[in-house]
Symmetry: D2
């Protein structure tokens, strides 16, 4: 492979280190305070040659294959700002990949182009407060086709980064008697300026009401009218397209989580080496802490190998072919990260409870990793059922 | 016993139910927003006969023995506002118990009286940012005796509820060559209006900068001058007095945690019964969730019996005699509560991540239960060393 | 209460200590080797006043209420020979309780009397190799009534202690169209000398084929003919009677498990104190081991309180009324014991793997505690379903 | 690479399947019963081209690089007889590797040759009952050099497979004032026919006293005299040589454990698919069991990637360079295997407790995996200390 992964990661590490003052500002003054700084950092990422690593060169990206992107993603994951700095942050990265593969020329021009340039942001509106995310067929947001337009009504939440977004990709029911239960849904682009598109609130999540990119909105769509050509892909393909983006999406998340876990482990080690316990002892002299460090290192190491293996499988067999590997990493890696974070907080003592370090930020916000994109329980059932099928006689 | 525990708990349950609108306000608008409401609720607690359950009748309290207080404390623990409503909230309850037992007449008149009437609040300043809480001998805040006054200099943090407090009980070094290492410290009352008493900030804890009672301050004492008679107890008795208040203090905490765990379990059950998963199924139809419920119930039940047993031991043998039982519940019950909370969040899915329920509040703030008042690791060592001593030949 | 529990436990401790040479013989030479010694020990138990603690005085027992028996049972549980020495070993204790409560005069005379005197042993044959123990309705052993006799055919296993037993209590289908699904079964006394009663083998369990009391048989009943009057209780009451004996039975097991756990913890402590690691260090100097000791102590303590509480509930409300408490301790205490045993083995290192200590014996044989009398999974579902019912609207 | 790994594993699978009748005989009639059958199976392994996979072609082996051997080792690990059938069983494989690399020509001719041909077996005697395995410097077996001979006295145990062995490799103290603490020990070949070489007993391990290859002996060396030229390598190199063989040895063990875990998982799946629970349900319909299957699959998958990665590291950097990776897999993989086995037993219910399946055999014997070759605690400390060193300033 002609890509120099080490060099890439080295550059990314440089960027991440430069982000540290911004992280402190984020923690102490909130996301609103770093808005203009982030633009500067995005410029810096371009200069370093780290812009849009997931995109083809034609679109200004680095054209990284997924297994290589995975390495980079871990490094970027070390900071809550890493992926954003390089324009490969969720949910935009998913929307970019979706539009790139399935968008019409007009959609690419109007919606994808500005995203890629970093001029706009977007969001994804699927989950609904009154329906279980684990059973998407229960979604009730409705897009009725009238005179070449969709009239959309519904109630969504956990639309991450909706505040400040140019448009939302909305999963809506587009009833069609000729297709099966799973084919009753489509993904439709709804500009946030559309009349009737209402951001009710930024949901307060684990103590943070958030702002802009760092927010999660509750939305209402009240008779929102958008042209039919805003639908991405064919009518009824909503879930099929969503499935396809899941593979890379989960690789990104998992490697980001490993970046978090790795940095938390490093913080733990630094603390263990430097924090005096009095009487000439340091935290490192506590065997229990040492064992946590060993276990965390082992678990992170195993999880990393699993994600890299899954990335290879996605690259070779597609999201569908790599389905089991993807479900495995989804629940396994989230669990590892949260365990490592919990140990890191314990080693940091009172400091770990404060917002003076990133540990609390991650402890709070990444608890969601076991819930979004399918809770652990759904993924375990996917893996188990597929495994059991092999033993049917 | 002439106390009707059931009736007491029933009244407390009434109060807790009345607190629910305030809890929502706390979650959505922050602690500042409920200030005046809280005063009303405190009046209501008085009316219900629930005021100052820990205090002797002479001081206007209910004179509850510790094992009875434990039952009440679980009920009050169901709400973050329960103990405050009844004027038995930490850290005031500890300060009241301390002053009651060891305060001079003047201290009782000037400082204890207003606390008991609920006219003032107080805080406790022991932990220092640069010294390990697990080894209190390393504390460096210094109180030098000069002309009948203490001149105090030091840096403290995690002074809970300092904002708005009338005074702080400060643990400070009062060097005395005639006494041993543990006897170099005294507890001194420092009014927050003392010149040089500086509240640097409310520390942002797990996403909450807090306010008033719901805050944790970083403090500096810069040449604070207070009369020698502000010392509580004899010079050098700081740790000895602190030890004595630990027993009841930990019983209160542990029962409060069980109130949290119990309510989280009940929320889980309600959710499991009412939340549809589509296809005619409810969460309760998931065996994994059922098993979490069974395990949580079992663990809470065992933990409750352990705390009640420890309360009996403290009542019979004092804090010192019940030392092992107290250390056991400190780490065991905190662990149970956090496990139950984690399961509750998982069952609530996205909703569990939001601040629309109390789960996130507790998940964040009660993570500290494994750290404050001695981290798990310290208590486990206390229990193990005492156990091993029995096997020395 | 006029029973002096401390004195009782003290006498039991004396007995248990005297059993230690026999334990070694059991471990090194197998159960067959200690047959005659056991008779001596049983005489000793009588002399000490420990015979048949569960039986009424009329029948020569100590008439201990269940909550008192629980304390004794923990002490006896410290040795694999303890309950047998005092004639309160499973499955005989269950059979005695059954016959005492529901046996006819003739059954009491012919079968119960000799059991109580310790002249015979008995077994219980319920589980079938090809049917799930968790769903007893699937049992297929059939007892057909012909001319005043039952003709029984079936295949059983895990008939503990069958070798050398005088009779088996057999759970068999006694079809009756007038009663419901659960009422199609009866318990019938089948002398092992009955023609057609075949002990196929002692099942090798975790490396032990066992012998006599210490064995678990696979049985076939081939046209075994016994008089109808050998049925215990009314026709179709098989499960109802079985349910009733479960409460005390599980209390006995759980307290026995705590005896095991407690002794394993004490062995761990002794080892930690005495075993040198070289360089002047002992195992006790390993913090990780200390924390295991603290956790084991805490978990045993909590489990003990839970069993004693369940014993009180059974005494007050009967097995049915205490159903949740009983299911809770069944899975919880088994888990605690196995965790404690696992830690004890780890601390003993290579020695823990050998049959030179009791740890391996328990590690192997008590793994079954999570399976027999209903696997963990069944009990968790019992607890959860009962809990959830309280939240139905 | 010119080796066809798939074909190799396919042949090994054929062999393993052919071993199943022997496994049953081993379980029901003990190791002694299968002695002659094993010879036949070894011939079959030769025919299949699976003989001595670890040895160079010159010595009649397959010359497999470690990373390839790892794959094969997992397949062989599926049966307790697999490695033995192919002459790559511990401890002989270690002794062969040791002699191959460090043996003199005479040692190779007299001792290695017959091992390779499968005509003899050997054992390794290091651990001593009264000294901690975790601190080898405390070993006290002494080899005194007198007139060109070593006179050896000592007490060893856990000399696996000593019964029937031709010789033992004995780790003994060879005091040398010119060398450091770790360089006071040598490995010396002691034929078991040497006068004074006493096999006291086969230690009964988890219920099995074992026999022949399947045994673990306690040994005494009473004035055993062997020529100085029986020392392997230079005087004082005992530990250095032992260290070098650890890398491959642990890879073998870990892959063998994964073979066990994988087969246990497959047994679990088969059981879940085929075992009826009555009422039209099968075990697979229990969500809790499904989740165990998913977790086991995930954990085995991660562990396998970790071992293959460690094998690559050993191949590239040697045992010393791969030290952390090796310590990580040692504790991590053992833990995974034991967890998977425990779940498998629970799913098998009563059957899992019997010796009718391999689960009990493994549950009992592989518990030692967390103890031998350095207990978990030692390896975690190795990993932690190395990790912390990177953070020293």
């Amino acid at each position: 492979m002609s890509i120099d992964v080490d060099q890439l990661c080295h550059k990314a590490t440089t960027l991440i280190n430069e982000l540290q003052p911004l992280e402190h500002k984020l923690l102490s003054d909130g996301p609103e305070s770093i808005d203009s700084d982030l633009s500067e950092i995005r410029k810096r990422a371009r200069t370093l040659g780290l812009w849009s690593p997931h995109l083809p060169k034609y679109w200004g990206g680095l054209d990284l294959p997924l297994p290589v992107f995975a390495y980079l993603s871990e490094v970027l994951g070390r900071s809550p700002l890493g992926h954003y700095a390089c324009n490969c942050q969720a949910p935009d990265i998913g929307n970019m990949e979706l539009l790139l593969e399935h968008g019409s020329s007009r959609q690419k021009k109007d919606f994808l182009g500005p995203l890629i340039e970093g001029k706009t942001r977007s969001c994804f509106a699927m989950t609904e407060p009154h329906n279980p995310g684990s059973n998407p067929k229960t979604l009730t947001t409705l897009a009725e086709l009238k005179d070449g337009n969709y009239v959309i009504n519904g109630h969504k939440w956990f639309a991450s980064s909706a505040q400040g977004s140019e448009f939302a990709v909305v999963m809506a029911k587009t009833p069609n008697p000729d297709r099966n239960d799973y084919e009753q849904f489509s993904q439709i682009i709804v500009p946030t300026s559309t009349p009737g598109f209402e951001r009710i609130r930024n949901i307060s999540i684990m103590g943070d009401v958030g702002w802009g990119y760092f927010s999660h909105a509750e939305l209402k769509l009240n008779d929102c009218v958008v042209p039919e050509e805003n639908r991405i892909g064919a009518q009824g393909d909503g879930f099929a397209l969503a499935q396809r983006r899941l593979g890379p999406g989960r690789i990104h998340h998992c490697m980001r989580w490993l970046g978090i876990a790795q940095r938390a482990l490093e913080m733990t080690c630094k603390r263990a080496v430097n924090r005096s316990m009095g009487s000439g002892q340091f935290i490192r002299d506590r065997q229990v802490v040492r064992h946590w460090i060993a276990e965390s290192r082992a678990e992170i190491h195993g999880a990393r190998l699993m994600v890299l293996d899954a990335a290879d499988q996605v690259a070779q067999k597609g999201s569908k072919g790599a389905r089991i590997a993807i479900s495995i990493i989804k629940f396994h890696v989230a669990g590892v990260m949260l365990k490592v974070l919990d140990r890191a907080i314990q080693v940091h003592g009172g400091l770990g409870m404060t917002d003076d370090t990133l540990l609390s930020f991650w402890y709070r916000h990444e608890r969601a990793s076991r819930i979004y994109d399918g809770p652990d329980e759904v993924h375990k059932d996917v893996v188990a059922r597929a495994t059991l099928r092999e033993f049917e006689s």
